[in-house]
Symmetry: C2
Subunit: 703 residues, 2 copies
């Protein structure tokens, strides 16, 4: 259900709990609404009646003389539950519940919050909060919050799960004169979530860039879907707090132990096209470019400076982030050289040296702005004896506004450049205290450019899936009360989903093992089969490359006796005799289920690449073909799969197909909690993949 | 030669080129000296004589009535060369040459700069510059620069190769009221280098922390030596610009192609105990802790906050950087709980919630300051309705100054906390706009604590080195005009330095190859031997694991005919038959010569670990035993060498010994330009290492 316009653009509103005592939140909200100049009707309600700030206050909701589209509640929970239906009668479509005393208190509060949601749903009102700072829409002159002031108007919209962070950022925005469009404190997110807000803002013509501070996401699957839609239209930059705190969960699979909550967020953000900021400072650094500048038409940066050092620092950052410096052509060089002293340096950075005054900056910028080989310009200034910071700032604004190029500035220093920075901001040029931060902002725009250039993920369903067979195998295992499925049981599920295994047979005597080997006429691997033994290698339960009957017979005895010795309690079904697969490269493919995002797929090269180097990639299912390819190419060891040292490349298409199958399987069967295909052998190009070993854990599905 | 005290603490000084025209640098310098209140004698010299700023100016050096310890030159090069000996007659020990027109202009300027150095040396004067902004020593009230103003006094000393960056940082320091001790613009570094300055500052009682901006270092070996000495006493934090620009050099060895200039700087900084800052902002962020706070006695951090979000962000950063959060003991919890409302959260972060006023902060801090399980405290504040930023700042200063704990603050926002930040700074509490930057500052102090805790690197010379034999082999190769030495020739050098190779023989016929194999009675490897073939594998010149006479004979024919086919011009000495080494793990050890730092040693696991994953470590020779161990343990794949999955650990001691031998060899023979030992097999613990293949490039040594 979409957020009604009444939340951000109400024609009329009521503050339930408007107070005349300045220390009360109910006063702060009322005062903010009036001082921000909200043009619609504002009705204060308070049992005491009277006046607040010269406005009449009504002693009950029923006394309000007109219709009310938005209700702002600053009264205790019980009064909210009572008032909401009554205000809905007056036409309320949306409510902001600022009051605390709900889920965050533990105990009874959770019940009150549930009751709040039920009431709201019944009377068809969407609720922001509870336990929040409120909401600001500068373009509607609506400040329905108890924040200390209203920020200037602008193109950035910000939402936050932390109210205190809202106050800090508002304070900063007012102090630094940074413009905002919407400012939304999400509070407990009882009803309206970050996904709802993102959806609304993506269609808001007053918002160019969405920023958010996120601690947790409740409905990860919807969040991912919404993110994909929103980022196709507008950039979204988020800080995720609590990134490392979750740590690795206790898990029995390789995939599970490597997954962890932050891996899931990182994968979902990436798949959703969201730019992730490291810090709150970073969040706003990155936002300024989007808010103030046109998207760059390409990625070639020109750096203009009056000093070598800062130019080098900017160029270093560009190189580190993979941003190419624009080439200064012969023609451009000739056009600049007439405007600068002979000691100027006309590479990139263009260094117009320490005595450059505003005029020289202006002259050079007037040439640069028309050069088609430049997509973005970064203007640096250090305050030296002859420097004219303010004049230069004006020259930058004049030359680069409307030039079609993305422009950035970094005027170093403080006392001498303070006014110049204000000129830049007012003129729509994002300005940073050090060059590195300006370059990072451009980098975010370039990343977003690539994100938007990608065609929407096509959904691809692999062929030849026998879902009913897998259903049977899983139901059988569940009926038998099994949780951990070993190779034999997992294999039937995976075979139903199109995975190919080498020929294999279960031997219960060494005689049977030799017979199986003889029939295969190939070297074999032998592995213990027991539901009680998950880590077969650790108990001496695996032998590889056996190529004569004697070795096979002996291996059978050794494997079974080792298992008996090391896990005396284990029930042993026998020993699996499996044809050896040679000429391939070892992979691990896996899935673990994240509490927020659901199935999280993992890919890596097998053995030490996973266990020592942790060189793995993650994506949330469903993955598209393109995302599966990204997963494969993102690991550091990827060159080993292409054509490293002239070897035949591995069958990347086969890996992609396998990932799509695991993606499908994990969506079809929520019963599967964790899945390891380890190892999988990827064969040379055109020859597919072979699953060698596998296991999974299952549980009754919750839904 | 040590910098004389006269540079920073002169009793008297002369400005050669003092001008009465305010737009002239010679006026700016004179004015700064007077306005900063320099207490000693200031003599202005100018052919025109007269008065500047009410002070008599002398028309020639000879007219100066008293002694002069420091000369400040703001006249053209010729006048400096002429004036320096004359001022030296007056007792000058040090000179600051602000004037440009030397090496930086190219052409004649380089000659002038050489003449300047010669003159200075002759008259025993140390020179700062030329082409610099000058120097400031706030503690001596000495501002011998043309900077726009003098920063407040403090404990930070800063030196910079970029004069413009000096002006920017001064401007920032004056604007933000950050205190400095010495401020040094190095200019062209004709005489006084960063190493000289670091040496001086390490003994300067007015300097607690050294900061620097470095573009290039000329004498890397001295720099490394000085760094080690200085960082044993005081922290040094540097920004290295031009970090990535150098890129990988064209090189024929693996080591050379992976080395690059930034790898050398990174290794030298690390070995020298220098903390590297990423940006200029970072440089000062990290400095504040050292400048204002005592070193932490341990690494346990407590975070105190009035809001959840910022607390989580701080805790995230601490976890990411490996800083443990202090445990809040039962006792501490009890002591705090009486001072805060029941909804406060008494974990770590300690969240004393949104309505905390200054008194609550003070009460809790008074308890925390005495808790022995806390080494560092970070106080966070977000400006909410009830918050008292200034009062809280005063409470922080009072509670934590002199507490023995390292204290940091981050008061978020801007308008409401501006004054509070000033209170914090004035009270000696480093303060940051966002929590993450505060935590990074603490992290730098903890890193430095570990650096200083390490005992000085002991020098270790490996035993059994026959230098004369290596000398002979190298001289012979040089005499023969050789540049690239293949396996056969390199081996004799390496054997003389104690490397062990497997048994081997050179076969010139397939008959000889079979004889060699028969004598070895082991599987063998066979490799083409030709000075014209460096990459043997690429021409089919290597065969491994040959275990019968027929295979050996056939391999001989195949190797030689492949070589003839693929490199028809190559002169082939024969085929090396080498005993196979089994049971070891492949390594690569190498050396390439860096233009600044000399021999740069490389270590990595062989094959894909080097070629695909680039998982290698570098150190500048000479390396100590401890540094060699660090090299080995720093690679990501290190677990493979310890006891991964219960396998026998590799002989780490043997690798350390090998690195020490390469270190010695590369210092003894500057003729060796590049060296690859690839592969080296490290055997299980106690069984040493075997070099399998090797090559080097040599050239006549320059010295």
């Amino acid at each position: 259900m979409v957020i009604p316009d009444a939340l951000f653009h109400p024609k009329s509103l009521a503050v339930i709990g408007a107070s005349r005592k300045p220390e009360k939140v109910g006063y702060g909200v009322f005062a903010n609404l009036i001082h921000a100049g909200f043009p619609g009707d504002i009705y204060g309600v308070n049992p005491g009646g009277g006046e607040v700030l010269g406005r009449a206050v009504y002693s009950s909701i029923e006394e309000i003389p007109g219709a009310v589209e938005l209700g702002v509640f600053v009264v205790p929970p019980a009064a909210i539950l009572d008032g909401m239906p009554r205000l809905a009668e007056k036409g309320m479509r949306a409510a902001i519940v600022i009051s605390a005393g709900f889920k965050e208190t533990g105990g009874d509060g959770a019940g009150l919050e549930r009751a709040l949601c039920e009431t709201a749903r019944r009377v068809k009102v969407r609720v922001l909060g509870p336990n929040c700072l409120g909401l600001i829409n500068t373009h509607a002159r609506l400040n329905a919050s108890f924040a200390a002031g209203t920020p200037p108007s602008g193109a950035i919209s910000f939402f936050s799960q932390s109210g205190a962070l809202c106050t800090a950022i508002l304070d900063w925005a007012i102090g630094e004169n940074v413009g905002f469009s919407k400012f939304i404190s999400l509070g407990n997110k009882a009803d309206i979530s970050e996904s709802d807000v993102m959806e609304y803002l993506s269609n808001d013509p007053e918002t160019r860039v969405l920023l958010g501070y996120v601690e947790s996401i409740d409905d990860g699957i919807r969040f991912l879907k919404v993110s994909r839609e929103v980022t196709a239209k507008k950039p979204v930059i988020l800080v995720k707090a609590g990134a490392t705190a979750a740590g690795a969960r206790a898990a029995s699979s390789h995939t599970g132990s490597l997954a962890g909550s932050d891996r899931a967020y990182a994968a979902a953000f990436r798949q959703g096209g969201i730019l992730r900021a490291e810090t709150v400072e970073d969040l706003f650094d990155l936002a300024l470019g989007f808010a103030m500048q046109p998207m760059p038409g390409g990625d070639r940066l020109l750096i203009l400076t009056n000093a070598g050092g800062p130019g080098i620092l900017a160029a270093d950052t560009a190189e580190r982030l993979g941003i190419p410096l624009a080439e200064v052509s012969q023609g451009l060089r000739a056009r600049i050289s007439g405007k600068v002293p002979p000691t100027a340096s006309l590479g990139n950075p263009v260094d117009i040296i320490g005595d450059a005054q505003a005029g020289r900056y202006r002259d050079v910028l007037s040439v640069l702005r028309d050069d088609p080989a430049i997509d973005a310009v970064l203007v640096l200034l250090t305050p030296q004896a002859m420097t004219e910071p303010e004049g230069t700032a004006r020259a930058v604004v004049q030359a680069l506004s409307g030039s079609g190029k993305s422009a950035f500035a970094s005027f170093l220093g403080e006392a001498s450049v303070r006014e110049a920075r204000k000129v830049l901001s007012a003129g729509g040029i994002p300005s940073y205290p050090v060059p590195e931060r300006a370059v990072r902002s451009l980098h975010a725009m370039l990343r977003y450019r690539r994100i938007r250039a990608v065609t929407p993920a096509e959904s691809t369903d692999p062929a030849g899936i026998r879902k009913a067979d897998a259903r049977k195998a899983i139901d059988r295992a569940l009926a038998a009360g099994k949780k951990n499925l070993g190779e034999e049981e997992s294999r039937s599920v995976l075979e139903a989903y199109g995975f190919r295994f080498p020929r294999h047979a279960l031997a219960q005597t060494s005689q049977e093992a030799v017979e199986a080997f003889t029939e295969m006429r190939r070297p074999v691997a032998m592995k213990i089969v027991s539901p009680d033994i998950l880590h077969k290698t650790d108990v001496g339960g695996v032998r590889l490359n056996l190529s004569d009957p004697d070795s096979v017979a002996q291996a059978f005895v050794e494997i079974t006796s080792a298992a008996r010795r090391m896990v005396p309690s284990a029930w042993v079904a026998g020993v699996s005799v499996q044809e050896m697969v040679s000429g391939g490269r070892e992979l691990i493919l896996g899935m673990s289920r994240d509490p927020q995002f659901g199935p999280l797929l993992m890919f890596g090269l097998g053995g030490i690449y996973v266990e020592v180097l942790k060189d793995v990639s993650f994506r949330v299912a469903p993955v598209s073909r393109r995302e599966a390819v990204e997963m494969i190419r993102e690991i550091r060891a990827y060159p080993l799969l292409s054509s490293f040292r002239g070897s035949t490349p591995s069958d990347e298409g086969g890996i992609v197909d396998s990932l799509l199958r695991i993606s499908r399987l994990s969506l079809d069967f929520p019963e599967i909690q964790e899945l390891d295909l380890n190892p999988v052998m990827v064969m040379p190009k055109g020859r597919g993949v072979r699953a060698i070993d596998c296991r999974m854990t299952i549980a009754e599905a919750k839904r």
